[in-house]
C-alpha cells in the first residue's frame, strides 16, 4: 500500500508520465488504474454514469414488463428472462459502477471502490431488512391500524395475554430440547458412522442427511400423516397409531388410537412436533460434527489410550474438547432456527391444544386478528430474544477464526 501511495504522489506532480507496463494479474491492477489520465477519466465518468442509468432503466423496465405481461408470456420464458435480466443486470451495474469510480480523481477513487461495490448490497439490506425492522418497532407502539401511538400498551397487552404466555413457554421448551438433542444425535451418529466401513458410513450418513432436503412444510405434512388419527375400529393409517394399536393388540390389551397432536399432557404434542425438526436437522448436525471428529488427530487418541484413558474417557476428555467449537456452532445455528420456528406448528396444529409458538402467534395476530400493533410487539420481543444469541454467535465465529 505504501508503495502505491508514493507512486501516486510522484505521478501527480510530474503531470501523468506514461504508464509503466504493469504486470497483468487477471484484473485491473492499481498501477493500471493510476495510469488512466485525466481525459480518459472524464470519458469513463461520462460513459459509466450513462451506462449505469441506462442499465438500471433497462433492468427495471424488463421486470416491469414481466409483471405487466405476466399472463401473455410462457412461465418458462419468464424465468429465463428474469434470470438473464437479473444476473446480467447485476453484472452490468457493477461494471458501470466500477467505471464511474475509476473516473473519479485517483486518490479519491481508491478509497471509494470498496464502498461502491458494497453499495448495492447495502441498499438492498437497507430496503428489505433495516427499514422494515425500524418500521415494525415503530408500529409496535401504535394501534391495530398503525394510526395512533399507544405507547407501551401493546407490550402490556401482549404480556398479559395467556396465549402469549403459552407461546413463550413453548418456545422456551423448544429452545431447551431441540438444539441440545440435535447436537447429541449428531455427535452420536457421527461417532457411530465413523466406526463403520467406508461404504457403510456413506450409506448411513446419506440416509440421515436426506431429510435436510425436505422443506419444513413438507416435513410437517409427512409427519402429520405419521401422527394421523383414525377412529377406533378403522384401519390405522397413521404409522404411530398403527404401531400403538398393533402392539397393544399383540400384548392382548385393547388399545384405543390416540390423537397424538392433541395430547397436551406433559407437552407431549409439543415434543412430537420437536421430533420433526430434530429429524430435519440431525443430518446437518451430523455432517458438521462428523468432519470435526475426523479432524481430531488420531495420535492424540492413541496418546490418551497409552496414558491410560478408557474409550469413554478418551471421548469425553480428548475428542469432545477438540470438537467443542463445532458443537457450539451447530447448537447456535439450530437455536436461532428454533427461536423462529413457525412452519411446523402452522401446518400441523396451527397452535391448537397448547402448541402455539411466538412466530405462529404473530402470524395469527396479523392475518387473522389484523392487529398490527400487537403483532409488531410480538416480533419485536422475538427479535430482542434472538439478539443475545446472535451476538454470542458472531463473537464465537470471530474467536474460531482467530484461533484457526
Amino acid at each position: 500500500m505504501k508503495q502505491v501511495s508514493t507512486k501516486s504522489e510522484d505521478s501527480a506532480s510530474v503531470a501523468e508520465p506514461p504508464p509503466p507496463p504493469a504486470p497483468r494479474r487477471g484484473g485491473r491492477t492499481y498501477e493500471e488504474i493510476e495510469a488512466v489520465n485525466s481525459k480518459q477519466r472524464k470519458v469513463k465518468l461520462a460513459v459509466g454514469t450513462v451506462g449505469l442509468v441506462v442499465s438500471l432503466y433497462v433492468v427495471v423496465t424488463v421486470f416491469q414488463a414481466l409483471a405487466l405481461f405476466a399472463d401473455d408470456i410462457p412461465r418458462l420464458l419468464q424465468g429465463v428472462i428474469a434470470v438473464i435480466a437479473g444476473v446480467g443486470g447485476a453484472a452490468l451495474l457493477f461494471y458501470f459502477i466500477n467505471m464511474v469510480v475509476e473516473g473519479f480523481p485517483r486518490r479519491f477513487s481508491e478509497g471509494v471502490i470498496p464502498y461502491a461495490f458494497l453499495l448495492p448490497a447495502m441498499l438492498l439490506i437497507g430496503v428489505m431488512l433495516i427499514y422494515p425492522t425500524v418500521q415494525t418497532i415503530n408500529f409496535s407502539f401504535a394501534d391495530a391500524d398503525s394510526e395512533v401511538y399507544v405507547g407501551l400498551q401493546n407490550y402490556i397487552d401482549v404480556f398479559q395475554d395467556p396465549d402469549f404466555q403459552e407461546s413463550i413457554f413453548n418456545n422456551i421448551l423448544w429452545l431447551i430440547i431441540v438444539p441440545a438433542v440435535t447436537v447429541v444425535i449428531g455427535v452420536v451418529v457421527a461417532v457411530l458412522a465413523d466406526n463403520l466401513s467406508t461404504n457403510g458410513e456413506k450409506i448411513s450418513k446419506s440416509f440421515i442427511f436426506v431429510p435436510m432436503a425436505i422443506s419444513f412444510v413438507g416435513a410437517a405434512a409427512i409427519w402429520s400423516l405419521i401422527y394421523q388419527y383414525d377412529p377406533p375400529g378403522d384401519t390405522q393409517t397413521g404409522l404411530l397409531n398403527a404401531i400403538w394399536v398393533g402392539l397393544g393388540n399383540l400384548v392382548g390389551a385393547s388399545v384405543e388410537p390416540v390423537a397424538w397432536l392433541s395430547v397436551s399432557t406433559f407437552s407431549l404434542n409439543d415434543i412430537l412436533l420437536m421430533v420433526i425438526v430434530i429429524w430435519l436437522q440431525a443430518g446437518f448436525s451430523m455432517i458438521l460434527l462428523s468432519s470435526a471428529i475426523k479432524g481430531v488427530p488420531e495420535e492424540t487418541i492413541e496418546a490418551a489410550r497409552i496414558d491410560g484413558a478408557n474409550e469413554f474417557q478418551i471421548f469425553r476428555q480428548v475428542v469432545i474438547p477438540q470438537i467443542r467449537g463445532t458443537m457450539i456452532t451447530v447448537f447456535i445455528t439450530v437455536l436461532i432456527m428454533v427461536l423462529k420456528i413457525f412452519d411446523i406448528v402452522y401446518v400441523t396444529t396451527n397452535g391448537r391444544d397448547g402448541t402455539n409458538v411466538i412466530a405462529n402467534l404473530f402470524f395469527q395476530e396479523i392475518f387473522r386478528t389484523g392487529d398490527n400493533g400487537i403483532a409488531s410487539a410480538i416480533v419485536v420481543i422475538l427479535l430482542i430474544a434472538v439478539m443475545p444469541v446472535l451476538i454470542y454467535q458472531v463473537r464465537h465465529f470471530r474467536r474460531e477464526e482467530t484461533e484457526r
Binding site: 492424540t300 492413541e302 490418551a304 489410550r305 491410560g308 484413558a309 477438540q322
Partner: protein
C-alpha cells in the same frame, strides 16, 4: 524397571500376505537404550506400536519383564510413548498434558502437581506450564511430549521418531539430551528412527530392520565393524561402505585384474560371485607400482579435518563408485588418478547372492 522381549512376534495386516513385522525375536535388557532403525516401511514403527499396544500382535508374544503383555490394552502395560508429532492434547495446558496420565491413574492432585513440577524442572519447562501447546515452539512441544512420558515413571519408554520434526541443529542437541536423560532415569527405552546417525549415537544397542525382518542387533561399533550382511553394511555408516562386485580368488577377491586381500575365514568360505566392502577410511593411498587399484577422482569434498574423494574405479568391466577418506588438503583435483589399497582385516566379504557376511 524391566526388560522387553519379542518372541516370534508378527504383525500381519488384514488383506496382506506379507507380514509388516515378521517373526521378530529381540531381547532388550533392563535399562537399555535400544534403537530400531531401518528405511521407511521396514516395520520398525510397527514393532514399537506392537509393544505399546496400538498394533495388534497376530502371532508370537511380547513380554515386559516376565509379564506377557501381548494382548493387554495399552493402559495396563505400564509404558509411555513419545510420538513423532508429539500428539499433545491441544485443549489442555502443558501441565494438564503432562498430568493427564496420572489423572487417569487416579493419582492424587498433590502428587500429580509434584511429579509434573519435577519433570518440568528436568526438562526446563517450568515457565511454560500454563501455556497451551499452540503457544510453544517445536522444541518445547517435543519436551512436553517427553515430560508426559517421564511423569508416569513407566517401565518402558517407547519413542517413535521423536526428533524428526525438529530442525537439524536442535535435533543434534536434543539427541544428546534424550540419551543423557535416559541414562539418568535408567528406564528401558525403545527408540525408533530412520536416521542411522541417530541410531549410532544414541543406542546402547541398535537393531537394524528391513522389510519386516530383523537384520542384526548389536552395539553401534560392532554393527559398523562387522555388519552381518550387505544391507547392514550399506545402511550403517556415512558415507556408506564401498561395495564392489568381485570374484573369489586364491586368498584374495578379484576385482577385474586387481586383487584385494581378504582374511582367512573369508577366503575359505567364498565361492564365485562375491561383494567386497571397504569403509572409506580403510583405504590407503599407494602407488601404481605397489599394485593399488586405480580410482579416477570425480569430486573432492573438503571437510576441514579430513576429505572425501569420490571417484570411479577404472577397473575393466566393473565401473564402481568409490569413496576414499583422505587427510585434508592433499590437493587432489578432479580427473586425477589415485591408487588405493587396503588391509585384509579391513575388507568385508559378502556373498553376492545371499548377502551373507563371509569374512570373520
Amino acid at each position: 524397571m524391566a526388560s522387553v522381549t519379542y518372541q516370534n512376534a508378527e504383525r500381519l495386516y488384514p488383506g496382506s500376505t506379507k507380514p509388516a513385522v515378521d517373526n521378530l525375536n529381540l531381547e532388550i535388557q533392563d535399562g537399555e537404550f535400544m534403537v530400531l532403525v531401518g528405511p521407511s516401511g521396514c516395520g520398525k514403527s510397527t514393532s514399537l506400536r506392537m509393544l505399546a499396544g496400538l498394533e495388534e500382535v497376530t502371532n508370537g508374544k511380547i513380554l515386559i519383564g516376565d509379564r506377557d503383555i501381548t494382548h493387554l490394552p495399552p493402559k495396563d502395560r505400564d509404558i509411555a510413548m513419545v510420538f513423532q508429532n508429539y500428539a499433545l492434547y491441544p485443549h489442555m495446558t502443558v501441565a494438564d498434558n503432562m498430568a493427564f496420565s496420572l489423572k487417569m491413574a487416579k493419582v492424587g492432585k498433590e502428587e500429580r502437581m509434584q511429579r509434573v513440577a519435577e519433570a518440568a524442572k528436568l526438562l526446563d519447562l517450568e515457565d511454560y506450564l500454563e501455556r497451551k501447546p499452540k503457544a510453544l515452539s517445536g522444541g518445547q512441544r517435543q519436551r512436553v511430549a517427553m515430560g508426559r512420558a517421564i511423569v508416569r515413571h513407566p517401565q518402558v519408554f517407547c519413542m517413535d521418531e521423536p526428533l524428526s520434526n525438529l530442525d537439524a541443529k536442535l535435533r543434534v542437541s536434543t539427541r544428546t539430551q534424550i540419551a543423557a536423560l535416559q541414562q539418568r532415569l535408567g528406564i528401558t527405552t525403545v527408540y525408533v528412527t530412520h536416521d542411522q546417525v541417530e541410531a549410532m549415537t544414541m543406542g546402547d544397542r541398535v537393531a537394524v530392520m528391513k522389510d519386516g525382518i530383523l537384520q542384526q542387533v548389536d552395539t553401534p561399533l560392532n554393527l559398523y565393524d562387522r555388519p552381518a550382511n550387505l544391507f547392514v553394511a550399506g545402511f550403517i555408516g556415512s558415507p556408506a561402505m564401498n561395495l564392489v562386485q568381485a570374484k573369489a580368488g586364491e586368498g584374495a577377491a578379484r576385482i577385474g585384474e586387481y586383487e584385494v586381500p581378504v582374511d582367512r575365514t573369508a577366503s575359505s568360505k567364498m565361492r564365485g560371485a562375491i561383494t567386497v566392502g571397504v569403509r572409506p577410511e580403510a583405504w590407503r593411498i599407494t602407488t601404481k607400482e605397489e599394485g593399488g587399484m586405480p580410482v579416477k577422482v570425480t569430486v573432492v569434498e573438503e571437510l576441514g579435518a579430513d576429505a572425501y574423494v569420490y571417484g570411479t574405479s577404472g577397473v575393466e568391466g566393473t565401473p564402481s563408485d568409490i569413496v576414499v577418506r583422505i587427510d585434508a588438503r592433499k590437493n587432489l583435483h578432479k580427473g586425477e588418478m589415485i591408487y588405493v589399497t587396503t588391509d585384509p582385516n579391513h575388507v568385508h566379504v559378502f556373498d553376492t547372492e545371499s548377502g551373507e557376511r563371509l569374512s570373520e
